[in-house]
Symmetry: C2
Subunit: 288 residues, 2 copies
């Protein structure tokens, strides 16, 4: 997906949040903002997707502030909050007449934990679960995705954020962990999950977890490792969580099921849903 001009104020908002997480020194925060402003003034916007620019913005903030992982405390906190809710997720699946659909809904509930697309704020995860259990979902797409999942032998699951990865566990269990490879980022970027988070929440005890060799939000294939690309090219089905994956992969010719909560007006316009909507967007999946 191309960059909209609306992304520019959003990059500055992200830069400021990251700078404030990274340091308490106002002069350093201001310097980070100036460096980002100057970079964006020159940036070839038409050649990149929003996550690629976001990556460069966050890298500049890290360089100026000297903090390699400003979001680390937030990631830890949301991993713990999500783990505390995990028994409730299990109970909801157990009590459900449609456990696959419920698992999709819970996975989508977790996608609210995204501090790139939206300002940092306290998120009421219980409320997110309640909303996700009731909100409109495209039932036909759920049914198609379920068939594709059953048919597929190798599924690549592109994870998104720390904390959110706990909400993906029920869906992996419904799919069958043995045919899933779960993907995280190699290095910290915003609050995206890394192997450290996958370990912290016990995801590595459930499923094979790899990193994509990259620290770019979403999945920019040209910046991923050979190992990841081998998985990507050989999978029968790719499940991709979050806006960043839609922004970077929506024009790819692979069978991809995008699962995301719409959090910004640019995505809302592009994908045709309202902000707050839960989306199952199937791309070339019918050709399986």
């Amino acid at each position: 997906m191309r960059i909209y001009l609306d992304c520019i104020p959003c990059f500055l908002r992200q830069a400021l949040e990251a700078a404030r997480l990274a340091t308490n020194e106002r002069a350093v925060q201001e310097e980070a903002m100036r460096v980002v402003l100057a970079k964006l003034a020159e940036f070839p916007l038409n050649e990149s997707s929003p996550p690629e620019v976001g990556w460069k913005v966050h890298r500049l903030v890290r360089e100026v502030t000297g903090n390699k992982d400003p979001y680390a405390p937030l990631k830890h906190s949301f991993n713990q909050k999500a783990l505390a809710l995990y028994p409730r997720l299990i109970a909801l699946i157990k009590d459900s007449n449609e456990p696959f659909e419920t698992a999709i809904r819970l996975s989508l509930a977790g996608n609210m934990i995204d501090f790139g697309a939206q300002p940092i704020k306290d998120i009421d995860l219980e409320q997110e679960i309640n909303i996700a259990l009731k909100i409109h979902l495209d039932r036909e797409n759920i049914s198609r995705l379920k068939k594709a999942v059953e048919k597929a032998k190798k599924i690549l699951f592109l994870g998104d954020n720390a904390g959110e990865i706990v909400f993906d566990k029920p869906l992996i269990e419904q799919i069958g962990p043995e045919k899933v490879t779960y993907v995280v980022k190699r290095k910290p970027i915003i609050n995206d999950a890394t192997l450290e988070d996958a370990k912290a929440v016990g995801l590595i005890d459930l499923v094979n977890v790899i990193d994509n060799g990259s620290e770019v939000p979403g999945t920019v294939l040209s910046l991923c490792s050979k190992e990841f690309l081998m998985h990507y090219n050989s999978a029968d089905l790719i499940i991709a969580k979050g806006q960043g994956h839609y922004e970077t992969l929506s024009e790819e010719k692979r069978p991809i099921a995008f699962l995301l909560k719409v959090k910004c007006p640019v995505i809302a316009k592009d994908i045709g849903y309202k902000i707050g909507g839960l989306v199952i967007h199937l791309s070339n999946v019918y050709n399986l």
Copy 2:
């Protein structure tokens, strides 16, 4: 008031809105954004108030796009919407047991029509009136302001936005138009009112209206005309509408009653109210 780093993303949001109002050409909009980004990267933030930077941002957008008044249609539209509600404002004052307080509340309701502090959106003016009639106001400050108004012989009323100026008419009537001089901007800036707006809504038939010789949001004294400064320095009381006036005059040693609706987190923090709150902030008014 000094600039907070939070103002930077907001300036970019304003620049984009102004550029989109000014032209439909995406390339020109992008160029305007780049010019604003480059300017902000170098800008001495500590030497200016937010409205002064906002002025420079909007001036750059006008220069790049060649549109001298991007907000003209919005201003016209809100003047007309406000005029359509004027009979209701009159009726509310007539039916009120506390007409001065009701006039203050209506004047504050109109301060929602501000497209600097907040994104451009449709504003339900009837809803704003209903909120303003019920919301908490500092009654002691209303009473003090009423006494100051009664005591003052020369009152300078610093108006804010097009449309909003209609909502100030009942307050001017309560004060007594003969002792009021009402101030607008000399040239268009964002949706601030000019003499053209004062004529369009008939304000000039009620009260003496002057311009301040400037096109900066709020009131930056060093950029105002001598005529305005004469009024400013000789007034017994100054009533200043909107966030921009608080941002530019809050540290002045004159008797100023700031009337504003809080619309941004920076002002909320600085003034100690929540977003959406209606504020009567009296500065040196007791010394009258």
